[in-house]
Symmetry: C2
Subunit: 440 residues, 2 copies
Amino acid sequence: MKTDRKELMRIVIEPSKDLWAELVKRPTQDFTKTERIVEPILDKVKRNGDKALKKFIREYDHVDIKDILISQEEILDSSKEVSEELKNAINSAKENIKKFHEAQVTKDIEMETIPGVFCSRKSVPIKKIGFYIPGGTAPLFSTVLMLGVPARIAGCEEIIICTPTNSEGKINPVILYTASLLGIEKIAKVGGAQAIAAMAYGTESIPRVDKIFGPGNQFVTVAKQIVSRDSVAIDMPAGPSEVLVVAGKKSNPAFVAADLLSQAEHGVDSQVVLVSKSKTFIKDVLNEIDKQVKRLSRRDVVLKALANSLAIQIKDKFVIADFINEYAPEHLIVALRKPGIILQHVCNAGSVFTGDYTPEAAGDYASGTNHTLPTNGWARSIGGVSLDSFIKKITYQRISPEGLQALGPVIEKMAEAELLEAHKNAVSIRLKYLKENGPS
Amino acid sequence: MKTDRKELMRIVIEPSKDLWAELVKRPTQDFTKTERIVEPILDKVKRNGDKALKKFIREYDHVDIKDILISQEEILDSSKEVSEELKNAINSAKENIKKFHEAQVTKDIEMETIPGVFCSRKSVPIKKIGFYIPGGTAPLFSTVLMLGVPARIAGCEEIIICTPTNSEGKINPVILYTASLLGIEKIAKVGGAQAIAAMAYGTESIPRVDKIFGPGNQFVTVAKQIVSRDSVAIDMPAGPSEVLVVAGKKSNPAFVAADLLSQAEHGVDSQVVLVSKSKTFIKDVLNEIDKQVKRLSRRDVVLKALANSLAIQIKDKFVIADFINEYAPEHLIVALRKPGIILQHVCNAGSVFTGDYTPEAAGDYASGTNHTLPTNGWARSIGGVSLDSFIKKITYQRISPEGLQALGPVIEKMAEAELLEAHKNAVSIRLKYLKENGPS
């Protein structure tokens, strides 16, 4: 392996497989310190509820808040502050997301596995859910859509949004507009770890929820991790966002550069990876990045993210596919003229974008697919947020006397072999009754 | 609330709602001590691989093992040690489980959300999975079926089973028989936290897996929790097994007693809850328990579990349903003549059994539904193991030049409002190119 450290990104030429483990490692974060800050916050909210929330809001957001929940007027007012153009864009995105997630509805199952043994399965919405929506400099109203649309299709009964206010105690109007578009009216003016605690344990004004969704900074991430150890589900183990782009000589280096930059602007810990057969193409992309990055206002963040990033030359397409599976990227862009081999062989990725005109940004906002996706290698085992994230599937069974007479001996035999006597007895006592009395 | 502490179980009469939070609390375990024991085990296996495994096998299982993986001969030999009757029972159970889980296959999605924007979703099996199967006194071959059958339907490529041996270095033959019935031939003679470490990190003889399934003692449970913080998925947060039975005057107290006992025999930390309108019925069930428990060889375990358990009188059926939702039982048995109201209103349960002839043991072994279910209140947010537990769903998108011309402005508008300039630029640069050059 030849490694060439350019200013912008680390370039690696034909790395041998024994080096892959190091290459696929994400820039890690040590959360031990964060845990020590977050744990007392969680404790205080658990014990003191709204009082603790207000104290933290004063301390961290520097505002005094009377009511933690937003009023109907504030929601109505917000609509006036959003341009018609942006409203239309949000509506278009919402329709696409709705179409794609409605197609995910599955039929309930009902069957008789053997005569008299009736088994079924029903999708049941998770009753109470909470969304954490970052506010401040990056008001992620698109996440309100990505979570709210499938939650509505699933039929979740109660939805609460927690989002921090600005220094005037106001929530970003676009977040409010998007929430009200989805009929979500319970919105709490609280951010950070304290918001996660409120949703996990409940306070006077915020209901305890069954599952918490949404991205956040390291304090939010760690808080979600901690509360999830104790029977509150979370959407996904969170990590910095990432993209892997496979592109060839016939791809457009300016487009590829733009896609890499759009990922890099998420934060200094984001990672972007470019894989290509062609070293010339890699150089072209780096030159394009150099040009484009200068025009970006967040270029400091972008440059730091790029410094954590990789451009890798691999000549064999099958080896590229293997490398992608090892990396298991959150987003995979296949900008090749002939993406077939890659698409067929890649089995570990969150969401896949193909062709020259499919920027990741399309999936981030508006094409219809979800943007909450597995990072940090989790794509090996889990998919992104989908309708199923808002549903649990309950199984049911009912056995007739005849059914138990047929199945009972099977159960008795197996329970006996597992040395579970009382399990066997729960069947035997019924079979004996049926033998003596007949079906009641 | 009147509380009456009987010898066998705690009886509670019409508890008011503000007391429910206390009643639904499971007997908790403090894992801090266990963590301190487990962490160094995980570390050693991570660092020293097979060598560490062999050392732990010597230390904990008191056997010297040459090969960690079982040989083909050992698998073939095991078949001779299993009776034809038990083989037939296992085969019947397998067929039912297969039928029910095959019905869970979902169609892939392909759609054009707007003209030129092609979105799709494909189910992809998780490539490498591992099962932990307890051995020793309770050889849970039924769990091999419950995990192996859906894994085979999903198409998982590589399956490894870790299970401890007996003091002669042998794995329970029924576990081996069941595994070979499913074509699982990679079986490692290792149990405990060290087995979880081996599957999470990989050793010379055990491959690193993407997801770990299966129940275990507290060391296994804690090990699964710890490794799952770091990109190895696990099937489910584990907790002691539990059942809630709703029964009325017309139910059979002997059947109800047998069901409660079959749950209680799992371990001293199991919990069983009986809810009934009728105090007389509760007394009848307790009398039956008293009678039946005497005949059980594991009665010491059972009595300890019962001491952690509850019998609750609640007269109103709707209130019963509310209580069940608050408790969110792993198993719910509705032994009422008219289960309608309960079935309609209960939304938090792992698996539901209705009627007089549907013991939980049916679902534990052979009816077709899965027995790996959410405990400790997790039924509020997650369902049991299903085909989906072995699959991840990857989304795909491809946008045509025309599609991007239509969708692009929506993305630009939204990215701009979220202050993500480079996201916007990834679209603008393409739209500009299309305007100047036309579709390439």
